[in-house]
Amino acid sequence: MEKILQVENLHVTFSTYGGTVKAVRGVDFHLNEGETLAIVGESGCGKSVTSNAIMRLIPNPPGKITNGSILFKGQDLAKFSEKKMRSIRGVDISMIFQDPMTALNPTLTIGTQLMEGLREHQNVSGDRAKEKAIEMMDLVGISNPPERLKQYPHQFSGGMRQRIVIAIALICEPDLLIADEPTTALDVTIQAQILELFEKIQVKTGISIILITHDLGVVAKIADRIAVMYAGKIIETGTKREIFYKPQHPYTKGLLNSVPRLDLKEARLTPIDGTPPDLFSPPKGCPFTARCPFAMEVCDKVYPENTELTGSHQVNCWLQDERAKQLIKVT
């Protein structure tokens, strides 16, 4: 499988009055063509910053990509000029935002907002653009497109708006779609419909998707591979099966334990105690140490190396070290 995106050693910082926030601290991951990668983690762990960094949509100042490369089809987006980046956005990489209620401009018609990207990048005639817009509306499941194109966002429901946002993102036929919590603001029935729409689109267009979410239910439904993020680092990656059935990192295990399950009698959820570290001065070692039930002395001092368990399953945890395994056996 061809790698469409390879992010290496990505660092993003934000300068504030209180100091520098190291939001993303050396993230490595890749995305294969036609695959769905889910990036999961709790609020503030750097998921959205990572996705915005790929689109180069981090407001500068205060944000800045300080290190690392974002190889998209072999080209390093981190080194692109703003003008060159504009020809990538919406055309090769598109993005979907969390809240469909605010993602559409209230003063422009749906048609204008749909066709705008097409008109900007592909120099098509008005009629052709309209044809394409109607085609996209059909694809995302909005009935009576010619009439609906003339309407304004406030005339649509939340779920409909998210469909339109998806249509806008897909109209230039991009190769990569970044969906930043696309279902978080929707109610559960609509969530299911939107996820089905994603699957349908992927089958139809073969698009690669990066899905940013904290909802493991969503992940279980549509992801192929999962990357777990914590405090600005990816701590574990693997296929959906590997992460759900053989989680290795204590944080991943904690995350899975905090999801309600229907098959267990135990009614209480097991939360992860404590809070994530302060990213103004992130710890030198593993950032999860303070909350980890298996924390050892070394965890706090040195960040663990990447351990490759299988070709697809990797984890950064001292428990994978041979010496730790012996220790566990002894105790």
Binding site: R89, L104, P106, L108
Partner: protein, 310 residues
């Protein structure tokens, strides 16, 4: 839409009627009469004059006569200058005042919005501070001070522009500048703050994610949303500019309506007071109505009619 306009028209007429009635009540309660200052006139002449202008009638008859004059738009001759009708005065003064007011509004709105956009895009930079510093000055300096300053520095000391009157485009620069600076500053500050708010909205990020040029993002996506509050305060600004024209016309010796308005009150020239008041209020009410219409055009969420439930 049409139904809304008719309804608004009705409300506007009622507003106008209230203004007319209040003006009439105030007018008859102000001591003195148009003929008081004439030392030479004796009582018989005064009585005759009053009878001529129907001023000897009981108040309710006078009131009805005034209403009639307004409905027919014939205010009769001025008492102080009997050879001129009020309509003549308005016809002569209004175009000039209108020109001054309109130019002021156009200058204030365009320069205010541009200044606000630049300040918001260079947020917290040198240009932002400079623009906002100017805006604070513009708001704090009253237009009559600015007018005198401009005359003294630019017209008298530097001799670049004429000091007064209203005869060529060059004559218009100073009065329009003096009158426009205040509203411009208010619009600039408001545009800046609403632009800053709008620029952080998701739909702006979405527009960026579409790969649109910064130009399009600002003018197509941000500005229209940012202008909503600006349109809202336009009504107040219009009233301010309107009253501002009285002062500016006095300072620059511009032969507009303002002169007649002020003079007529001092001289108790009842028909002129009535004529100018009605005219000014009708104009302002009409402008406010246009502002409301503009609001609906800018924001599709504002509906003028209720069609079914929603």
């Amino acid at each position: 839409m049409l139904k809304y306009i008719f309804k608004r028209f009705g409300i506007m007429l009622v507003t106008l009627w209230i203004i007319i009635t209040l003006t009439f009540i105030l007018m008859i309660n102000v001591p003195g009469s148009p003929f008081n200052s004439d030392q030479s006139s004796n009582e018989t002449i005064q009585a005759n004059l009053e009878a001529h202008y129907n001023l000897d009638e009981p108040y309710h008859i006078q009131y009805l006569l005034y209403l009639k004059s307004i409905v027919t738009f014939d205010f009769g001759p001025s008492i102080k200058q009997p050879n001129q009708s009020v309509n003549d005065l308005l016809g002569r003064g209004f175009p000039i005042s209108f020109e001054l007011g309109m130019m002021t509004i156009i200058v204030a709105v365009i320069s205010g919005i541009i200044l606000g956009i630049i300040a918001s895009l260079k947020h917290n930079g040198f240009i932002d501070y400079l623009a906002m510093g100017l805006a604070v000055l513009g708001i704090s300096i009253p237009n009559f001070i600015l007018a005198t300053l401009l005359i003294q520095q630019i017209a008298v000391n530097l001799e670049i522009l004429p000091t007064a009157t209203w005869s060529s485009p060059a004559h218009m620069i100073l009065p329009v500048t003096a009158l426009a600076t205040g509203p411009m500053a208010i619009i600039a500050r408001l545009t800046r703050s609403t632009m800053l708010e709008v620029l952080t909205q998701d739909y702006i990020k979405m527009a960026k994610a579409k790969g649109l040029s910064p130009w399009k993002i600002v003018f197509k996506h941000a500005l229209r949303n940012a202008l909503m509050p600006v349109v809202t305060i336009m009504g107040t600004l219009l009233a301010g500019i309107l009253t501002g024209t009285f002062v500016i016309e006095q300072i620059f010796a511009i032969p507009g309506m303002g002169k007649y308005f002020v003079e007529s009150i001092n001289q108790r020239d009842y028909p002129v007071i009535m004529g100018t008041t009605v005219f000014y209020s009708a104009f302002l009410i009409l402008m406010l109505f246009l502002v409301d219409i503009a609001y609906g055009i800018l924001d599709p969420r504002i509906k003028f009619h209720k069609k079914g439930g929603e």
